[in-house]
């Protein structure tokens, strides 16, 4: 009855992401994987990326992690206020501490800069 392990699918679940980098999960990345990845990563079915592509028409990258102009403060405002069809995230979902870690991690392009 046991089938082959179901493919993790392109969701990039926390376990997969952790295994890939091999490092302890940076708090910021864990929050990103849990909350942001479903709309802001690449590929089909990412409403956030699609929306930013329409908005900026490529003048800035549509994928948030590729942006170089995001400040932690801007990220904090968008997460707490939402925009258009993106609702705000409550503190029971993303605590202030997690939001701090997320903002700095994203503002640094996902730890690349």
């Amino acid at each position: 009855m046991r089938a082959a392990t179901p493919v993790m699918a392109a969701l990039g679940l926390m376990a997969m992401a952790m295994a890939a980098t091999g490092a302890e999960p940076i708090a910021g990345e864990a929050v990103y994987q849990r909350w942001c990845v479903h709309c802001h990563s690449t590929g089909r079915g990412n409403p956030g990326t699609e929306s930013l592509q329409v908005k900026y028409k490529g003048s800035v990258p549509a994928v948030l992690l590729e942006r170089t102009d995001l400040t932690a403060e801007v990220i904090r405002v968008f997460v707490r206020q939402g925009v258009l069809s993106m609702p705000p995230f409550r503190k029971t979902e993303i605590t202030d501490a997690e939001l701090g870690a997320l903002s700095t991690w994203m503002a640094s392009g996902g730890g690349k800069r």
Binding site: A3, L11, L84, M86
Partner: protein, 557 residues
């Protein structure tokens, strides 16, 4: 395979939304100095009354401090910034005095804390509004029905208590989202599927209690119908377990749904008789394959034979997937390729192929119809197959649905939010054609001569034996636009009621109007529900007004 997304886009194309200015708010410049377009909101525009109606300041302070000692200060939110996070992002009253807002929020993490919070609220008669993950967007989101209530946020109760592969069931807490449950099942390599609705971040319990549905196979798509056993905190703070859960250390709580004696679970569906803190769900063992087919019929009136055949196939459980009916012809009255129907079937390969063939024979009886078999997907899906499949149809939660109504190429400046008008029609072709004509006849007047654009109607056949005509109303942050949308929504409710069509579910702000439509014998069902509400919640503290059930002291006699 025309899926709902593509279909909705064609429907969306019909209804371009007028440009809406975004009420700007200056934002700190980004590092590169580019002016980031501001989210169309400002948190201080609406200062919530910050004091629940009918509660004195001293009593509210006593309640707040009691809650802080019960669940910890970091679980009690009172600052403007924190409480504003509980606004309904898609509220049709956004920024207006009538917007339903929270006065505070409390977030317990355990059953005992929920009991403590409820007892304190009952003592000081503070109205609570329970939310699970607060993601019930288009139906009220995280804001209370009774403005000024304290939101009881259950998001922190997010433990997956058990997933049993042998007997295919799960027991979860309200804060568990479809993403959380899917992650648990994937991590433990359990060969069962969950049935996700469109957005995957919603609560498995919350969606079921609001009457929501998903996209895999029947009977799992009827989320409340597929539940098995509940644990509920009543307004007195007492905890109750239903079904076999009423038997101490029962071994079959998630096996047998009914238990013994009067079944009370239904009271908590679209209800406010208690706070659900645990709920069991029957899950589907992973089906080996899924294959879908599309049937097209040329003439408008072929909808009758099309639906009769679909009913026959579904009522015999030959077709178990989430069928979806498409048709431009129907709405426009013309005959150009009138209707199409998708027929997904889940199961073992040989069985699905035999069922597909049986469907082909049955639909062949409709003159001029075509039957096109789609790809047969074997599970678990390969990464490649995933790129062609719609995740939710394979038990994988995602958020792709927000691509429909957010900013897209087809709709560069959307209103942002939306609300759903979803009347139930008889599951017949005649009813479908009657509704299509009814919609065409009334659209000019309800839409102010076409100035207001609605999306749809989308005829949804994915509830067993039920047909819903879904019309989506864009909602934004522009007060005048929202007011006209609200008025249109109320008109549709009344026009449909006169035809014997009532909604299966509705956004918080319209729950009173819709409840009044279910008025048989001078609203005897509503009065029966009120009698039960007054008995179970004498002080009327649990989600007052939800689905039109108000406590005694708030009922205008």
């Amino acid at each position: 395979m025309t899926d709902r997304r593509k279909f909705l886009q064609t429907a969306a194309g019909m209804a371009a939304v007028p440009a809406v200015g975004a009420a700007g708010l200056a934002l700190p410049a980004t590092a590169a100095g580019a002016q980031v377009a501001a989210p169309a909101t400002s948190i201080s525009v609406v200062a919530p009354s910050r004091l629940p109606p009918g509660v004195s300041r001293p009593d509210f302070n006593r309640a707040l401090s009691a809650w802080r000692s019960a669940i910890g200060a970091d679980g009690v939110f009172t600052s403007d910034a924190d409480v504003a996070l509980y606004r309904d992002a898609y509220s049709p009253y956004w920024g207006e005095p009538e917007e339903r807002v929270a006065s505070a929020a409390v977030a317990p993490a355990t059953l005992e804390q929920v009991q403590a919070v409820v007892r304190v609220a009952n003592q000081y008669k503070v109205p609570l509004y329970a939310i699970s993950t607060g993601r019930n967007l288009a139906y009220g989101g995280s804001a209370p029905v009774y403005s000024g209530s304290v939101v009881l946020d259950l998001k922190r109760m997010n433990r997956v208590l058990e997933v049993n592969e042998r007997n295919a069931y799960a027991l979860v807490e309200p804060g568990v989202s479809y993403f959380d449950l899917y992650e648990h099942i994937t991590k433990h390599n359990l060969d069962v599927w969950i049935d996700p609705p469109d957005p995957g971040w919603g609560s498995v319990i919350g969606n079921a209690l609001d009457g929501g549905g998903g996209w895999t196979a029947s009977p799992f798509r009827d989320h409340f119908g597929a539940h098995c056993g509940m644990e509920v905190v009543l307004a007195s703070g007492e905890v109750v377990r239903t079904g076999m859960g009423a038997l101490p250390d029962s071994k079959s709580w998630q096996h047998n749904r009914w238990g013994y004696g009067p079944w009370v679970d239904g009271l908590f569906r679209q209800g406010n008789m208690g706070v659900v803190t645990k709920m069991g769900f029957h899950l589907m063992p992973r089906p080996e394959v899924m294959q879908s087919a599309v049937v097209r019929v040329p003439r408008n009136e072929d909808a009758i034979a099309l639906l009769d055949t679909l009913n026959l196939l579904e009522n015999q459980h030959v077709v178990n997937g989430s069928t979806s009916l498409g048709g431009v012809g129907g709405a426009a009255g013309g005959n150009a390729g009138a209707w199409s129907l998708t027929l997904p079937i889940y199961g073992p390969e040989k069985v699905v192929r035999a069922q597909m063939e049986y469907c082909r024979d049955k639909f062949a009886k409709i003159a001029g119809s075509t039957f096109t078999e789609g790809e047969l997907f074997r599970t678990p899906l390969s990464a490649d197959a995933l790129t062609r499949a719609r995740k939710t149809s394979f038990g994988i939660p995602d958020l792709s649905t927000f691509g429909l109504l957010g900013r897209t190429h087809a709709d560069p400046v959307p209103a942002g939010g939306h609300m759903d008008f979803s009347p139930i029609l008889p599951r017949t072709g005649e009813a479908l054609l009657e509704f299509a004509k009814f919609y065409r006849d009334n659209l000019p007047s309800v839409s102010d001569g076409g100035k207001l654009r609605f999306l749809g109607p989308v005829y949804m056949t994915n509830w067993d034996r039920t047909l819903v005509a879904l019309i989506m109303f864009p909602v934004g942050k522009d007060k005048a636009f929202n007011a006209r949308m609200r008025h249109a929504f109320e008109q549709w409710v009344q026009l449909c009621a006169d035809r014997g069509w009532g909604e299966y579910r509705t956004p918080a702000v319209f729950q009173d109007a819709v409840a009044k439509v279910y008025s048989y014998n001078n609203h005897s069902l509503t009065r029966m529900r009120e009698t039960i509400k007054d008995a179970l919640d004498p002080n009327g503290i649990l989600s007052p007004g939800r689905y039109g059930v108000w406590p005694r002291h708030l009922r205008k006699s």
